[in-house]
Amino acid sequence: MLTHLPILQVILPLMAAPSCLVLRRAGLVWLFAFAASLSALAVSALLLQQVLANGPISYALGGWQAPWGIEYRIDLLNAWVLLIVSGLSSAVLAAAHTSIASELDGGRQTLFYTLYLLCFAGLLGIVATGDVFNVFVFLEISSLSTYALIALGRDRRALWAAFQYLIMGTIGATFILIGIGFLYMMTGTLNMEDLAARLPTLGNSAAVLAAFAFIFVGICLKLALFPLHQWLPNAYSYAPSIVTAFLAATATKVALYLLLRFTVTVFGVEFSLARLPLESLLIGLGLVGVFVASTVAIYQVDIKRMFAYSSVAQVGYMVVGVGIGTAAALQATLLHLFNHALMKGGLFLALAGLVYRTGACRIEHFRGLGTAMPWTMAAIVVGGISLIGMPLTVGFVSKWYLIAAALDRDLWWLAVLVVLGSLLAVAYIWRLVEAGYFREATGSAVAARGEAPVGLLLPTWLLIGANLYFGIDTRLPVAVTAAASQFLLGGGP
């Protein structure tokens, strides 16, 4: 049983998804999906523990050995990301029942859970597999279900947002497929480990460069790295609140994992960071992303959209970490991966609570929220403070590592810019605080107020509490990410 853990992780939600269609009753389906997600979480926790104890786990799918069959390879990096994805998915699912019941009508709820589990399985598959074509397959599974999930939004613009993402996402996936094709052509293998061994021997082959370019751009599209982020704000603002929380906490994280996996493991740091001008490209795009997206966020009226832009900015920080390329910087990126999932998961769930009560979350709905929904508002404040990067929250931990990594390489200007970027976060967070505590509710926003239901509030505070807990007791994330980044730079996959 234990040897099958790597695949169990993916199979569980994949099998559970169609079973949802049989159950039909919304409450039952929810319980079932939640149980599936929880068991995936348990599996990934077990996996991480085993990897920490015994090193990487290799699993041959169907008993076919690697060059012919598909290999699943769990090392510290993907064990960590698996834990994040399944943990956040479980927290978001815990809140899903209350929120989805109010945002979707009965028949569609079953559909929602089916799609959700499919998307979840796809994301886990991308992370767990050690085969690049398999990555593409799972990418399509997760992407297609994501388009449908976004289209479930109540606002008719959700359809447009889903279509926009469909176009962009398909271009991204196609690019990745083309790149994989080139790689296969040049090396004759799809296994990541073999690719990593054979690519350096090919020297400056134009086909390898083209493959890298296609894969890189494709991943950046999925990652919503500036300037390829256009699809993200629409998708986040019009999708059902729960979907937004799920995507913000997991989907971009998985894309970032892919970026790391391809640049560091498959192509190797030597190739991607030293030979190609990727270092300046990543740092440059990351920083521009931080500043442009944060500035745009300040002027948003729709708060879901505001946090969507903030997500684009936060992706910028993570990419900067990859760009710096030292072990310390990669550690900062991996930490932020986790931390940002906690922040945005908590924040979007809190927004889901607001949407539950008022039907929307524009800035005017925040007026007087401090008295009307004290717990929801407090969650947003704590999450926001974490986003800014104040001490005693997780945001501080990742920022500290990123700045220290920059200074360690004598990049003073970079450290200064990172710090200035977080000041922009102060500006957009504080608009909410001002509206929530120092303005009276007016007009239509007053009606139908009250604290969010417990079903939403508990998961929200679970994540917000985690923001504080892991900001104070940093042992687990710091230890795992330190080992993972050492491992990444230390050798092959």
Binding site: I385, I388, G389, M390, P391, L392, V397, W400, I403, A404, L407, D408, A415, V416, V419, L420, S422, L423, V426, A427, W430, E434, Y437, F438, R439, E440, G471, I472, D473, T474, V478
Partner: protein
């Protein structure tokens, strides 16, 4: 009780008070009783730490380690105790004052007000007793965040604007410069623990040290060195007890205390003297003193004038620290105490005038001394304390600061201190003098009827009398504090 238990108590009483105030929020008198008891208890705890610290006992407490080498830890050193003594004593007095003020002025959300007040004092204790820069930074930021709602307390557009400037400048400088300086220090020195004599190895690149010092001095926005002083006048939209305790004592003193501590325990006086940036920053502090005094002269709003006077006086403390001489340091530390007593009295008086006579502008105060003799008498005494002439404690700090410039042979700065003392006479003394000697005209309202004005509510009057008496007391018995400073330097 052992020292470290007392230390824990000092850190925990304010958060406990917060809980108590929240629980008893519905019963006003009980709630205020909780505040008073907590304040008195805190002061008693801090006082009981006095003798052990003077005897040189190491009182420390290690809470938790966030990241390797970054711990939340506390260790009492004499200067921190000095700061804690002043802040905790004035918390009692201010609570007394606030009871009269908030009720007399009919303010809303009083429970929130008193809760955050307690929390702010807790943050001050954290700053005072921090063992390393990181702990200090954490509490520094907490202090900013808990005082922000106090600034915007009124909830008006003006209050929100003031709050935005307040938060913008304080968070901006602390995250933009202070944090960077801390990380830089960590990378250069490998530790963030305060250590007597400094933590940098001899022979560290002076250019880097200069950069760090500049980042520190600008990064501690609470010390209000120009051009990062704008938050202080902006914060004057807060209710007066907030202006009094936080923006004359706790917050701004936290700022200069950090500067003092960084100069003394991160750089060390010997190293500080050799850093090229010190000279420039000295003149910057001097310019800050001078310009703020001139701006203060032009302010017609009483609280605004006091705010700019604070900016100017904070410049004295920064300047004294940067002189890097024993006398300068002593003067700075003493001025933390003297200015605290003087300025809190002035703000108490401003608030008392607002509550009793509803006046905020200086030209309205002509002749008011006959109706409010105690208030204006206290104002006179406190003004003298700020200016630094007997019979008040301010004499001592100004004396040592002068001595410091003499030791460092900074003749220009010595002249500057004298000019600025004259300026402070010009912007402070006319107020009480006109109040006592001016005509009676403004005491009639538009219809020509005389308006009856008396003293402010009793708790407020008691409070401002206590602090004014404190100003005089400090002239006669500065020894309590002087011994601490001598032990600290």
């Amino acid at each position: 009780m052992s020292g470290s238990t007392l230390l824990q108590l000092a850190l925990l009483i304010p958060p406990l008070a917060l809980a108590g105030i929240q629980l008893t929020g519905r019963w006003e008198n009980l709630r205020e009783a909780v505040s008073l008891v907590a304040a008195t208890g805190l002061f008693a705890v801090v006082v009981s730490l006095y003798q052990p610290v003077l005897d040189g006992g190491a009182i420390a407490s290690h809470w938790l380690e966030l990241l390797p080498g970054l711990a939340i830890a506390f260790r009492i050193e004499p200067l921190g105790l000095l700061f804690a003594l002043v802040a905790s004593f004035l918390w009692i007095v201010t609570t007394l004052y606030a009871i009269g003020y908030m009720r007399g002025h009919g303010e809303r959300n009083q429970t929130r007000f008193f809760s955050l007040f307690a929390l702010s004092i807790g943050a001050v204790m954290g700053i005072a007793f921090a063992e390393n820069l990181f702990t200090l930074f954490v509490f520094y930021e907490i202090l900013t965040l808990c005082t922000y709602p106090l600034v915007t307390h009124a909830g008006t557009d003006k209050a929100r604007r003031g709050g935005r400037v307040y938060l913008g400048v304080l968070l901006g400088t602390s995250v933009g410069f202070f944090l960077l300086a801390i990380i830089g220090t960590w990378l250069l020195a490998g530790t963030l623990d305060f250590k007597s004599g400094g933590i940098f190895a001899p022979g560290t690149d002076p250019a880097l040290l200069s950069l760090l010092l500049v980042l520190f001095v600008f990064g501690v926005g609470k010390a209000a060195i120009m051009p990062f002083h704008r938050w202080l006048p902006a914060a004057m939209v807060a209710p007066t007890p907030v202006s009094a305790l936080l923006h004359a004592v706790a917050v701004v003193k936290a700022g200069v205390f950090v500067v003092l501590k960084v100069c003394l325990l991160i750089f060390g006086l010997d190293m500080l003297k050799t850093i090229p940036a010190t000279g420039w920053l000295l003149y910057l502090a001097g310019a800050s003193i001078l310009f703020a005094s001139i701006v203060a002269l032009r302010q017609q709003n009483l609280k605004k004038r006091l705010a700019y006077s604070t900016v100017s006086q904070l410049g004295y403390i920064t300047l004294g620290a940067l002189l890097a001489t024993g006398a300068g340091m002593t003067g700075s530390a003493l001025h933390i105490v003297m200015h605290a007593f003087g300025k809190i009295t002035l703000f108490f008086c401003a608030g008392a005038i607002l509550v009793a006579a509803h006046k905020t502008e200086i030209w309205e105060l002509r002749g008011i001394g006959r109706q409010m003799p105690i208030t204006m008498g206290a104002f006179l005494v406190a003004s003298l304390c700020i200016i630094g002439i007997p019979p008040t404690g301010g004499t001592w700090s100004k004396w040592y600061l002068m001595l410091g410039t003499f030791e460092a042979q900074q003749w220009l700065l010595m002249g500057l201190l004298m000019v600025s003392s004259l300026l402070s006479i010009a912007y402070l003394l006319p107020i009480p003098l006109r109040a006592f000697l001016g005509g009676e005209r403004p005491l009639e309202d538009g219809a020509g009827e005389a308006v009856a004005i008396g003293e402010a509510p009793l708790p407020s009057v008691i409070a401002l009398s206590i602090t004014a008496a404190g100003c005089v007391y400090l002239l006669l018995f500065p020894d309590t504090f002087y011994r601490l400073i001598a032990a600290g330097i």
